[in-house]
Symmetry: C2
Subunit: 385 residues, 2 copies
């Protein structure tokens, strides 16, 4: 079970199922990618997984996709990689267990750019908003992105015209890290006017990301599906301008459903592009932010004191069921192998393998020559970073 | 004890104490104005009342003040008058009993204009904000006042330059009722540039009001003291523009302390005159309003269905201790005299006399030839109108 095999398996799975494929994702989480891919190919899997994969399961393009990616300087980041942002994305699994529509983790992510994804997602804020933004909105997006990037926060957005583009450009102007999530494949060149911007993001320390295999055109439903990743990869989402019914409001709603912080910028009351922001604020679905400092205060800057609320949390608060069972199977003195932990916790081996590094990142597990064990001294965890 | 005597007594008391004179107001509430005025003159009253009145108690100008008022078409409205807005102002007494600084009822109010004060205050919204307002702020204030006046709501404000003036003018433009509360006497001609506006308010169906006897110049502390009356006479206060520390924020804070609805209008985040509004909204001290409809929805238009919250209130909810005791002393079948009610409730006779009309207005008491009694059928009350 080499990383290469797992990568090929996940490239195949990304190709044959249209995200979000909730049943498939759960199936892969249970069986691991290689066994899951084999089962999908043969049709020897639960009906719901068959439903999600039957239309494309004969498309054996994993090698070709990986080569195509290579050819344009892209890579496929998989959960088995060190740089996989397991902790930020855990909110999706929690949401899925709670039956929330938008809560399906990605099977893998196509990426352009040299930044490590886990590092880029460590202290990230999403800035989203209307494509048909006002001058005011674009200025605010640019200024917020610039100011937050200066404070070493990553700016996550969707590469659309208007607010998204202004946010990416603001981060680049501050020589900060910015991450673009696409609703099409990396080479699709969409939106056309932002091809240069996407190149700049990839070349200047940021990342361009997509769930979609090469050759996938943009589509409205893909932008909505993509929005959950913008929300999940960020600690909070700032809506700069949004109409009453807009994609940006969808991202805000998703972020709220995922337990992330939602913020909105007010504007002149006559402006239609601020109407969605005002509604979010009035309905208490978003907190009003009027400055970069407001955002930093609300998100809580990494490296500064965490808010009191977090300091008093128990380290294992926020762990989902599997993670908690795995954590409880660990002992302080005696190390255990993943196989032992799987047997004792009743959690599948691939899932144990996926969760242990997350627990390690959070300081809830350590490994040495004897195997995995609980750390000698627990430390407080970050909430969702 | 004619109304004339009571009016002279209150004119005297307004002259000799600088509002808010909490001890004096309580003393008058207990003794009635005539006895209280006599006690103040002779110094035969509690020390706290002496402290509030000793500096000016020799100023016997009641007759002269009433004549001066007459000469300029003004009248002194006293709590014993039918048009006294007893119910809106009751929030001040409740606040005073709870020890809130800004909760002191006025002893009387000097008034110019033909409107009945009780009718003007029935369905009123305050619109307040910065004197150094932006073009945006003045436009919003004017539009809100116009739209609310069109819906037969009274616009209450403070006659200052900027937002206040725009609000009064907007109401006048809609041929609506607008009420100006001054921080100086009626004839003081302040602010100088608004003398024409104040005349128009008085002449075109509105009211110009002041606690201050003729000859009182404007002063910063008087504007702050006056703010409680703006808040009390309105069902809700809309802050259109306000700096971080401003008189408008003071009015908003006072309105909140008095249990009134506080609303704030957002604006561009770069605008210093919106910073106070944004703070109020972010701190949940105010609800964001972006349109006239928002205000109407929040305040609840008289004549339309009250919000559910109000429908389920018990009729006597919100009554203060005295009012509740008086209400409980009433019977359904048998009428009682105020003297009987005072004896049974243990509440002083002048207070019983003052509260009974309030209960009557609220449909919680009725009178016929047998005296005061509880109505046969209770109806739901408005919250604080």
């Amino acid at each position: 079970m080499s990383l290469d095999e797992e990568r090929r398996a996940r490239a195949y799975l990304l190709r044959v199922a249209e995200p979000p494929a909730a049943a498939l994702v759960a199936f892969v989480s249970e069986r691991g990618p290689i066994a899951a891919a084999a089962a999908v190919r043969s049709g020897n899997c639960p009906q719901r997984v068959i439903d999600e994969t039957v239309a494309r399961r004969d498309q054996e393009r994993a090698e070709a996709d990986l080569e195509a990616g290579n050819g344009m300087g892209a890579r496929l980041i998989i959960p088995e990689d060190d740089e996989w942002p397991a902790w930020p994305l855990l909110c999706l699994e929690v949401a899925q267990q709670r039956g929330i529509q938008s809560g399906t983790a990605p099977l893998a992510l196509w990426a352009r750019g040299d930044a490590r994804l886990d590092e880029a997602a460590d202290g990230a804020v999403a800035i989203v908003g209307a494509r048909a933004a006002s001058v005011y909105g674009e200025q605010v997006a640019g200024e917020f992105a610039y100011g937050l990037a200066e404070r070493d926060l990553t700016i996550v957005s969707g590469a659309a015209y208007g607010i998204d583009g202004a946010a990416h450009r603001g981060a680049l102007a501050a020589k900060g890290v910015t991450v673009a999530l696409l609703g099409c494949s990396l080479e699709a060149g969409y939106p056309a006017g932002h091809v240069g911007l996407l190149n700049a993001i990839a070349e200047r320390g940021g990342l361009v990301l997509s769930e979609y295999p090469p050759g996938t055109p943009p589509a409205r439903h893909r932008f909505l599906v993509r929005n959950r990743l913008i929300a999940a990869l960020s600690e909070g989402t700032v809506v700069v301008e949004a109409g009453r019914r807009s994609g940006a409001r969808n991202t805000a709603t998703t972020a709220g459903a995922l337990g992330k912080i939602v913020m909105a910028v007010p504007g002149p009351i006559g402006s239609a592009t601020s109407a969605g922001c005002h509604e979010l604020i009035r309905n208490s679905a978003a907190t009003l932010v009027a400055s970069v400092d407001d955002v930093v205060e609300i998100v809580g800057k990494l490296g500064t004191d965490p808010p009191e609320r977090l300091q008093t949390r128990r380290p294992t608060d926020g762990l989902d069921g599997d993670a908690l069972r795995i954590h409880e199977a660990l002992e302080r003195r005696q190390g255990k192998s993943p196989e032992q932990i799987a047997a004792e916790s009743g959690v599948s081996l691939p899932r144990v393998r996926a969760v242990l590094p997350v627990l390690e990142m959070e300081g809830l597990a350590e490994r040495d020559e004897t195997g995995w064990h609980q750390p000698r001294k627990l430390r407080a965890t970050k909430e969702s970073a």
